[in-house]
Subunit: 316 residues, 2 copies
């Protein structure tokens, strides 16, 4: 946005912008900055060397598309954008290193509220916000980019599953979709399932444990099992037959399959005992076996019936 250079407000506008950035930095900066690092305030953020492979993922959330502002506070947009991006690192078995946030918004947007949601997610995921960019736009849009590291064995891809392996999920499904339904029906923001929708919890510890256990393939359930399991099967070149879909208390079978935004992890392994042992050792809830992979890539069934691609759609 160019203002005429002789405008009396140019210097003042720059001060206002720098002030907003300072206030947001105060909201985000809850922890000490490691020695030798530089976060908000320079051209780029400077971080200590990563250990092992570097992981990067980006997610954008738009008010009115990803969050209904008549039902939820603006801070939920920030929280969900950050949690969704971090979940992609969990899905590779990675550890979080940091995040940068690019926000566009119309004048009058409560940027501090938006960033409080981001800060809450940064704390629970140990993923400090190290930089960002602010600009004007018609939409309130939050693009979160997270980066992590994968020490030791490499990241777990979604393409590594072979035939005759076990398929598991880290927990029952459909909580987020059920929470959205309940909120639309008038449930308060503090309702347990509504909170599951507003404040998804990336399965970072589970992802690291699964990588340690040598799972062959993994991804996060952001678009629903019906779509994501088919994507994993496509990438790995396998089919599958499911015995069951674990439905969360209060959710419907359909919500569990195609609701999306649960952010539980979907894992495939040929060594179920090792996976169970490592989860138990680390005090994590035991994952649930939901079926097995098949050599025939065209077979995609739930108890013998077709299990087609279905779930959340990003309309373009």
């Amino acid at each position: 946005m160019s203002l005429p250079a002789d405008s009396p407000s140019a210097g003042e506008a720059a001060r206002v912008e720098d002030d907003i950035i300072k206030r947001i930095a105060a909201i985000l900066g809850r922890g000490p900055i490691p020695r030798g690092e530089r976060h908000i305030g320079d051209d780029a953020a400077v971080l200590a060397p990563f250990v092992g492979q570097a992981l990067i993922s980006t997610d954008v959330a738009v008010l009115g598309v990803h969050l209904d502002e008549s039902l939820f506070p603006l801070e939920d947009l920030g929280f969900k954008a950050m949690a969704s991006a971090v979940s992609d690192l969990a899905a590779m078995g990675g550890r979080t290193k940091g995040a940068v946030i690019a926000v566009s918004s119309p004048p009058g947007t409560d940027l501090e509220e938006l960033h409080r949601g981001i800060a809450d997610a940064a704390v629970i995921t140990s993923c400090p916000v190290v930089g960002g960019d602010l600009t004007r736009g018609r939409d309130v849009s939050v693009a979160v980019t997270v980066f992590g590291e994968c020490p030791g064995k490499g990241a777990v891809l979604r393409s590594g599953a072979g035939p005759d392996e076990k398929i598991l999920v880290t927990g029952p499904l459909g909580r987020s979709a059920a929470g959205l339904r309940r909120r639309r029906g008038g449930a308060p923001l503090t309702d347990e399932l509504v909170v599951a929708h507003r404040r998804p919890w990336p399965r970072l510890a589970e992802g690291v444990a699964a990588r340690a256990a040598g799972v062959s393939a993994m991804m996060d359930l952001s678009d629903g099992l019906g779509l994501d399991l088919n994507r994993l099967a496509d990438a790995s070149g396998v089919g599958f037959d499911l015995d069951e879909v674990p439905v969360a208390e209060g959710a419907t079978h359909e919500e569990a399959i195609s609701g999306g935004e649960d952010y539980e992890l979907l894992m495939v392994t040929s060594d179920l005992e090792r996976l169970r042992m490592i989860f138990a050792d680390r005090g994590l809830r035991q994952p649930v076996v939901i079926g097995r992979t098949l050599e025939d890539v065209t077979t995609r069934t739930l108890r013998g019936a077709s299990f087609d691609r279905r779930g959340w759609q990003h309309q373009l």
Copy 2:
């Protein structure tokens, strides 16, 4: 965006989305992917270990705010967003490792054209696009996050300048603003100054050379010398007196000071001879001395006259 799970179009919509992603990946994927790396197609991108400090920066560009679509093709939005983000790595003395792109857009947007501009910038900056996200929104908005590495000596901050050092820029200023003015006046897209506006060239080689030469502070001129030099002085706790502002051929003095988007580098050094020698050794154009830093932080002058904060404003 949730579609009803029983909608007959849900599976089809997923295929359409995956097809768009494949076409964009083909536009972006011009080079071979290093062994052991994984770019577009998994939850997160996986990159080989970085050497030294990691650098991260994010920039968002919105159609109608950062680019006038009546004057410029959509691909310029992609190019400029990418170039602007990469310039932040140049400003630290870093090398590029890769980028991720988050795009929101209304239905009917030519996403392939947008990504062709991104791909062009990725090639000239040796910065492969390794992942992204697409979503629906009212604005066409491109958030580019770039990451780089800084082997050897650490990144150059904007806060390291001391008093009585030389201030330099890597080239004459005002080309971008002059190009915008000329385009508004009817100049063709191929006009040399219009191209300077449409296709800014991040000074990566110059940034690495400046870091090798031990400059004390550096930043890129994205918002204009009038604003950015004052920001560097604030961060370093110094004042300055300028002898001259190098005005590019075809630009005005005012465009050189407050036009913005030139992406030349602003450098401060106490060892001018070393800087000159390293630039000469590497075949780079010699930087121009524009003045010196002062111990009195309140003195901000151009040949004795006040040189206030002024330049591009991001209106919030």
